[in-house]
């Protein structure tokens, strides 16, 4: 069983190679990718259910026991996120052929896609700090590949900035690993967790922890390190934006959740309080950005940022409820961001423009798109009974219980402004007199809408059917809060 745990990482890697090798046989590759994605989604879902019921599976690569080898840890949190990743990815694969140019598909879209999935899954599952760096690089490299697929002026320009920011944070990552290794002499999460506790002089460790935080903060787009995000997420093809929006920043925030609940919890008064402040600023500046533009894609891209703020808020509050809130929100946000980027891609194709000022009455021709977008907006804003609401309740509960009133008010205010930014699209873009120049290719738009519909359906389920999901999230959060299970399952031999 413990060898199966590598498959979520290895299958996409192999698929990536196959897809790249046969990239010119486009039809074959498409079919291969879709089949592979669906099959591995089925497999991973099964594995996840198994782990939910039977407990964490730890794969020690090459049979070397932790902390000497690299542990791939299939704990419920990791598996939950890997499953979500694959869900969104699979949806993206069915969206891609309809929105990508042929050129872009043949130039290794599918190769990059699988590489991205492999990197993201690896980042979720690894139990080793340096290995996390490696998986970061894998997923970043894949994202670089995806972002340059447009290969136009703007794409390349924004890609350059994007690559630089990530490169710099990667370097900071290495330095942080160096610092941590110097103090603790290990890079294994579980062993780090054990050792960090018993370090005498913790000031230096806290400082290092904060530096490491910034590494993830750049990837996770936390204030004030998200400058690279909006434009980099706007210039690529919608399917790429969807993958980015749903997966990339989430890896950063996942790492924060993991590391600042497992390892650096020795001085929460400093680190986690810092998170709370940054969470507030992230939410505020994110929505401010979302309100600042008439580019519909950019509105969605900016909306990634406040969501990150919400998740960070949960880590900052550091209580079982708030962590559960962050995890729920994380899962929810992956799904809904994927959906929104799909839908907004469809909207841009349908309306023939990205500019809200030139858009109106789209719903009159494309009611399904309009209504799904409307529901997606509500989900995003955390309106009950959808998925965003569950996470929000938990986070607010956590915040209020700790009397962080300012934080709660900022969170609610930004929820309101998120709704405003989304409703602006609905009211000014979908409503109104039927505009000229709208696409009349109903079939195409319909096909572009379907993947979004599926994801929105999942998001609705995550809210309405929260009872099927939440107990797992609760146990995940308890595991995160009480670290012993993770540590013991990884270090069981020693």
């Amino acid at each position: 069983m413990s060898n199966l745990i590598f498959l979520p990482i290895v299958i996409p890697l192999l698929a990536s190679i196959v897809a790249a090798l046969f990239a010119k046989q486009l039809r074959g590759v498409r079919l291969f990718s879709q089949i592979t994605a669906v099959l591995s989604l089925v497999f991973i879902s099964g594995l996840t259910f198994y782990i939910f019921s039977e407990g964490t599976i730890v794969g020690q690569a090459g049979g070397w026991q932790a902390p000497y080898g690299i542990s791939i840890v299939g704990d419920p949190l990791a598996m939950l996120l890997v499953t979500t990743t694959n869900v969104i990815g699979t949806a993206a694969l069915f969206y891609a052929p309809r929105i990508l140019e042929r050129q872009q598909e043949t130039f290794y879209f599918y190769g990059f896609y699988f590489l991205l999935i492999s990197g993201v899954s690896g980042a979720f599952m690894t139990g080793d700090l340096f290995n996390l760096f490696v998986f970061f690089e894998v997923l970043l490299m894949a994202s670089y590949g995806l972002i340059v697929l447009g290969n136009g002026k703007a794409q390349l320009r924004e890609s350059f900035k994007y690559v630089l920011f990530n490169l710099f944070s990667s370097m900071l990552f290495i330095v942080s690993v160096a610092y941590i290794y110097s103090i603790t002499g290990t890079v294994n999460f579980a062993q780090l967790a054990e050792r960090v506790e018993s370090v005498d002089q913790q000031g230096a460790l806290t400082t290092v922890g904060v530096i490491l935080f910034f590494v993830f903060a750049v990837k996770g787009a936390i204030f004030p390190l998200y400058y690279w995000l909006p434009n980099s997420y706007v210039v690529p093809n919608p399917v790429v934006s969807a993958l980015f929006g749903a997966l990339l920043t989430k890896v950063g925030i996942y790492s924060i959740i993991r590391i600042y609940t497992l390892i650096f919890v020795h001085e929460t008064g400093v680190t986690h309080q810092l998170f709370i402040w940054l969470a507030m600023l992230t939410m505020l500046f994110g929505v401010i950005g979302a309100l600042s533009t008439h580019n519909v894609k950019l509105i969605i891209a900016y909306n990634i940022i406040p969501a990150v703020g919400f998740m960070l808020m949960g880590v900052g509050l550091y209580s079982p409820e708030s962590i559960a809130g962050s995890v729920y929100y994380l899962m929810h946000d992956m799904v809904i961001k994927g959906a929104l980027f799909f839908l907004i891609g469809a909207l841009v194709v349908a309306a023939g423009t990205k500019d809200l000022r030139q858009m109106s009455g789209v719903i009159q021709r494309y009611p399904l798109l309009g209504w799904i977008f409307f529901v997606a907006s509500l989900i995003l804003a955390g309106v009950p009974p959808f998925s965003g609401f569950i996470g929000k309740i938990l986070l607010l509960e956590g915040g209020l219980a700790q009397e962080e009133f300012l934080l709660v008010i900022v969170a609610l205010l930004s929820s309101l402004l998120i709704l405003l930014s989304m409703m602006r699209i609905f009211v000014y873009g979908f409503w109104g007199e039927k505009m000229d120049g709208m696409s009349s290719d109903y079939k195409h738009i319909r096909k572009l809408t379907i993947p979004g519909v599926v994801l929105v359906g999942i998001a609705i389920f995550l809210g309405v059917g929260a009872e099927f999901v939440y107990p797992h999230i609760e146990s995940i959060s308890n595991m995160l809060y009480d670290r012993t299970e993770y540590i013991s399952s990884v270090l069981k031999e020693s």
Partner: protein, 111 residues
């Protein structure tokens, strides 16, 4: 000796950052290269240097910590991959945008 090396690594970081803050594509990339050298050097230094024989099994009594070396090796190769990509990207960016000045590539048209 380690403190001198830490100083050098920090200097590499500093100079790298200074270059990163410039306008020309080339300088910016040079900056990333310097920063990555600095990062690798940190990894080397923080594991303590010269504490024994090279990590090759022989009859020596003590060896230098091999783990950081393995990590650096991975990091070097990865940096190389990314830098190569970045170089080609810079080249393409330059040829398409017809400038190597980043300040002329702000791209505000999306707002």
């Amino acid at each position: 000796m380690e403190f001198i090396l830490i100083g050098l690594a920090s200097l590499l970081f500093g100079t790298g950052i200074y270059n990163l803050l410039q306008k020309q594509l080339l300088r910016i990339i040079i900056g990333t290269v310097l920063v990555s050298h600095g990062a690798h050097l940190f990894l080397l230094t923080m594991a303590r240097v010269k504490t024994g024989a090279p990590p090759l099994i022989s009859d020596a009594s003590s060896y230098t910590d091999p783990l950081p070396q393995a990590l650096i090796l991975t990091a070097i190769v990865i940096s190389f991959g990314v830098t190569s990509f970045l170089l080609v990207l810079a080249y393409r960016t330059y040829t398409l945008n017809k400038t190597d000045n980043m300040e002329e590539m702000r791209g505000r048209e999306y707002e």
